[in-house]
C-alpha cells in the first residue's frame, strides 16, 4: 500500500515535470544549458517543489489541527485560519504598502496564530452536541474575520484583488518568488519529531496531562506550526481547500491515528493529491491552466462528499 502510494507519487512528480505550455526538448536538458534547462530549473522544478511542499504542509496542518481540536472535520479553511491570514495580508498592505512578501507573511502568520488560538479556546469552551457543529462554528468564525476584512477592503476599493490572493494558483511560481514555501520543510520535520506528542494530544486534555504532556505548550506549538504553514502557502500560492480535510480522513480510515506511523502516508497523500489536481488543471484547457484552488476545490469536495456519504451509511 505504502509502496504503491510512493510509486504513484513518483509517477505524478514525473508527469508534473513533463506537462506544460512550453515544450521541453529532453535531449537539450542533459547538456545542462539552453532553453529546456532553463524551463526545467526556473519553472518546472520550482513548481514541483512548491506543489509537493504545499501538499505535505496542508495535509500535515490538517492532521495537527484535527488532533488539537479533536474533530475530524477541521482544517485551516474551516477554522478561520485562512480568513485570518487574508486579514493579516490586508492590514500589511494598507499599513505598510511598500513592504515585501516577508513582512506580509509575518502579518499573516501573526493573525493566523492569534485566530487559531481563539478558535481553539472557543471550541474547548463549548460542549458540542454534534461533531458537525465544530466546522460550522469555524466557518462562521471565518465569516466574522472576512466581514472585518471586507469592511476594510470595501472602503479601500480592493475587494476584487483580495479575492485573487485567496485563490490557490501555482502559475506564478517561478524561481525567485516562491522560496518562502521552503519554510514548510522545517515545519514538517518538527511535526515528525513531535508526532508522538500530537497523538497523545488527540486523546484530550485530561489523558494528555496525566500522561505527562505539557498540554498548553503542545497546543501552542501545534498552532504555531499550522500558522507558519498557512501563512507561507497563502503568500506564495493562495488558499487550497479540502487537502487538509480529505487526506487525513482517508489515512485515518486505513491506518488509525498514531501520528508517528501515519504522518509519512499523510504527507505523501497530500502531495500526490495536489500534484494530481495540478496536472488536471494544466491539462483541462491546455495550453492555459485552471487555478489549482478550483481543481482542488472540485476534486477534494467531491472526494469529501463521497467520504461522508459512504461513512454515513
Amino acid at each position: 500500500m505504502r509502496a504503491a502510494l510512493f510509486g504513484l507519487f513518483i509517477v505524478l512528480c514525473g508527469a508534473s515535470l513533463l506537462v506544460g505550455a512550453q515544450q521541453v526538448v529532453w535531449s537539450q536538458v542533459f547538456t545542462l544549458s539552453g532553453d529546456a534547462w532553463l524551463t526545467i530549473t526556473a519553472s518546472r522544478l520550482p513548481r514541483l517543489m512548491a506543489l509537493v511542499l504545499t501538499g505535505v504542509g496542508l495535509s500535515v496542518c490538517g492532521v495537527i489541527l484535527q488532533h488539537i481540536v479533536r474533530n475530524k472535520f477541521v482544517e485551516p479553511a474551516t477554522a478561520g485560519g485562512l480568513d485570518a491570514a487574508k486579514l493579516g495580508i490586508l492590514v500589511a498592505l494598507t499599513l505598510l504598502p511598500a513592504s515585501g512578501p516577508g513582512v506580509r507573511m509575518l502579518f499573516a502568520l501573526a493573525f493566523c496564530f492569534a485566530a487559531s488560538l481563539v478558535f481553539v479556546a472557543i471550541v474547548q469552551r463549548i460542549r458540542v452536541k454534534n461533531t458537525v457543529l465544530v466546522p460550522v462554528i469555524g466557518l462562521m468564525y471565518g465569516g466574522v474575520l472576512s466581514a472585518v476584512a471586507e469592511f476594510y477592503a470595501y472602503q479601500h476599493n480592493i475587494l476584487q484583488s483580495m479575492q485573487g490572493w485567496l485563490l490557490g494558483d501555482f502559475s506564478k511560481v517561478v524561481q525567485g518568488n516562491y522560496e518562502i514555501i521552503y519554510l514548510i520543510l522545517p515545519i514538517v520535520v518538527l511535526t515528525y519529531l513531535y508526532a508522538q506528542r500530537f497523538t497523545v494530544l488527540g486523546m484530550g486534555e485530561g489523558i494528555a496531562t496525566s500522561l505527562g504532556l505539557n498540554y498548553r505548550a503542545t497546543v501552542a506549538l501545534g498552532l504555531m506550526l499550522v500558522a507558519v504553514t498557512v501563512a507561507a502557502t497563502v503568500i506564495t500560492v493562495g488558499a487550497i481547500p479540502f487537502v487538509g480535510l480529505v487526506i487525513p480522513n482517508l489515512v485515518a480510515l486505513h491506518y488509525g491515528d498514531n501520528l508517528g506511523r501515519t504522518l509519512p502516508v499523510v504527507a505523501l497523500g497530500g502531495a500526490s493529491l495536489l500534484l494530481a489536481c495540478d496536472i488536471l488543471g494544466r491539462l483541462l484547457i491546455y495550453p492555459f491552466e485552471v487555478p489549482i484552488g478550483l481543481t482542488a476545490g472540485g476534486v477534494g469536495g467531491v472526494l469529501f462528499l463521497l467520504l461522508i456519504l459512504w461513512r454515513g451509511r
Binding site: 472557543i122 463549548i126 462554528i137 466557518l139 462562521m140 465569516g143 469592511f151 485563490l167
Partner: protein, 320 residues
C-alpha cells in the same frame, strides 16, 4: 403559563422602537419631499419589512428544528448558490445580463434556482428515509465550500467594472429592490406565513426534540419537511431580494428569545421579525447618513452581528 407583564411591555417596546425608526428613516433629511425622496424611501422600507420577516422566520424555525441556537439556514448553501448564479451570469453574459434579464427576471431566476436546490438536496437526502438534520448540515457545509471556491474564481476572472456590478449583488442592500419584486415577494411571504401560522403549535412541540414530538403524536418527518420547505422559500426570497445576510439570523433569533422570555413561537416569531426589521432600518440609516454609502448594509450587519456572535461564543460555556 401566563406571561408576566414586563416581557409583554418589552415586546411592545420593541415594536414602538421599530415604528420610531421607520418614521425617522422616512422623514430624516427628507425636506417633506413627497414626490421623490419619500416614495423611494417607502419602497426601501417595504423591502426591509419583507426582508426582516424573511430573515427572522427561517432562523428561528431552523433553530427549533435543529435544537441549536447558533445555526442559521445560511450555512446550508443557499447563499452560495445565489452568489454562484450571479457570478456565472456576469461571467458569461457580462453586464448585458442586467439588460437581458431585467431585475425581475434575475429575481425570478434566483428564487426558482434556490427552490430547486433545496428541493434537490432534500429529496436526495430523504430518499431512503434518513432524516438527520446534521447530515444535511454537513452536506450544505461542503457544498458551500466548493461553490465558494468556484465563485471566487469567477469573481477573480471578471473585469473590475463587471466586478462592481457583481458586488452589488453579493452585498446585502435595499437599493436594488423594485416594486414588482416586492409585490411578488410579499405574496410569497404571505403565503408562507399563512401556512406557517397554522402549524405554530406543532412547532412548539417540535422544539421539545424528536422523541418527545413523536410521542406527543406529531408526524415528525412530515412536519420537518414542511418547515424546511417553508424555510427554503423565505431564504430564497430574502437572498434574491437583499443579498446574503449570513450572521444576522443568529443574532435576531437569540435576541428574540431573550426579549420574549418565552419559547412559544407565537411570541418569538413576531418579536424576531420586529428585531430584524429594526436592525435593517438602523443599518440603512447608518449607511445613508453616517458612512455616506462608503460601506454596505450587508457588511455592516455581518460585522456587528458577527462580532456579537463571537462574543456569544467566547462568553457562553453552555451547550451548542
Amino acid at each position: 403559563m401566563t406571561h408576566k407583564p414586563i416581557p409583554k411591555m418589552l415586546r411592545y417596546a420593541v415594536w414602538m422602537v421599530v415604528i420610531a425608526l421607520a418614521l425617522a428613516f422616512l422623514f430624516f433629511r427628507a425636506d417633506w419631499d413627497f414626490d421623490y425622496v419619500i416614495p423611494k424611501r417607502l419602497v426601501r422600507l417595504a423591502a426591509m419589512l419583507i426582508g426582516g420577516v424573511c430573515v427572522a422566520w427561517p432562523s428561528i424555525v431552523f433553530q427549533t428544528l435543529t435544537g441549536n441556537r447558533i445555526l442559521t439556514p445560511a450555512v446550508m448553501g443557499y447563499e452560495a448558490v445565489y452568489l454562484l448564479l450571479q457570478s456565472l451570469l456576469i461571467l458569461f453574459m457580462g453586464t448585458q445580463s442586467l439588460v437581458a434579464l431585467g431585475a425581475n427576471g434575475n429575481f425570478a431566476l434566483s428564487v426558482v434556482l434556490m427552490l430547486g436546490y433545496s428541493w434537490a438536496i432534500h429529496r436526495w437526502l430523504f430518499r431512503d428515509g434518513r432524516n438527520n438534520v446534521y447530515f444535511l448540515l454537513l452536506i450544505g457545509l461542503v457544498l458551500t465550500m466548493v461553490i465558494g471556491t468556484f465563485t471566487q474564481f469567477v469573481q477573480f476572472k471578471v473585469s473590475p467594472g463587471e466586478f462592481s456590478v457583481l458586488l452589488g449583488f453579493s452585498q446585502a442592500s435595499f437599493g436594488k429592490a423594485e416594486p414588482g419584486q416586492l409585490l411578488a415577494s410579499a405574496v410569497l411571504v404571505a403565503a408562507v406565513c399563512a401556512v406557517g401560522i397554522k402549524t405554530l403549535p406543532t412547532l412548539d412541540v417540535l422544539s421539545l426534540g424528536r422523541d418527545q414530538a413523536l410521542s406527543l403524536g406529531v408526524d415528525y418527518q412530515r412536519a420537518v419537511r414542511l418547515h424546511l420547505a417553508l424555510i427554503a422559500v423565505l431564504v430564497a426570497v430574502s437572498t434574491s431580494l437583499l443579498g446574503p445576510t449570513a450572521f444576522m439570523g443568529i443574532f435576531v433569533a437569540n435576541t428574540a428569545y431573550a426579549l420574549a422570555r418565552s419559547i412559544r413561537h407565537r411570541v418569538t416569531l413576531p418579536t424576531g421579525c420586529a428585531i430584524a426589521i429594526g436592525i435593517f432600518i438602523l443599518a440603512q440609516l447608518v449607511v445613508e447618513h453616517v458612512f455616506n454609502y462608503r460601506t454596505t448594509v450587508g457588511i455592516l450587519v455581518n460585522l456587528v452581528c458577527g462580532a456579537w456572535f463571537l462574543a456569544l461564543m467566547v462568553r457562553t460555556r453552555g451547550n451548542a
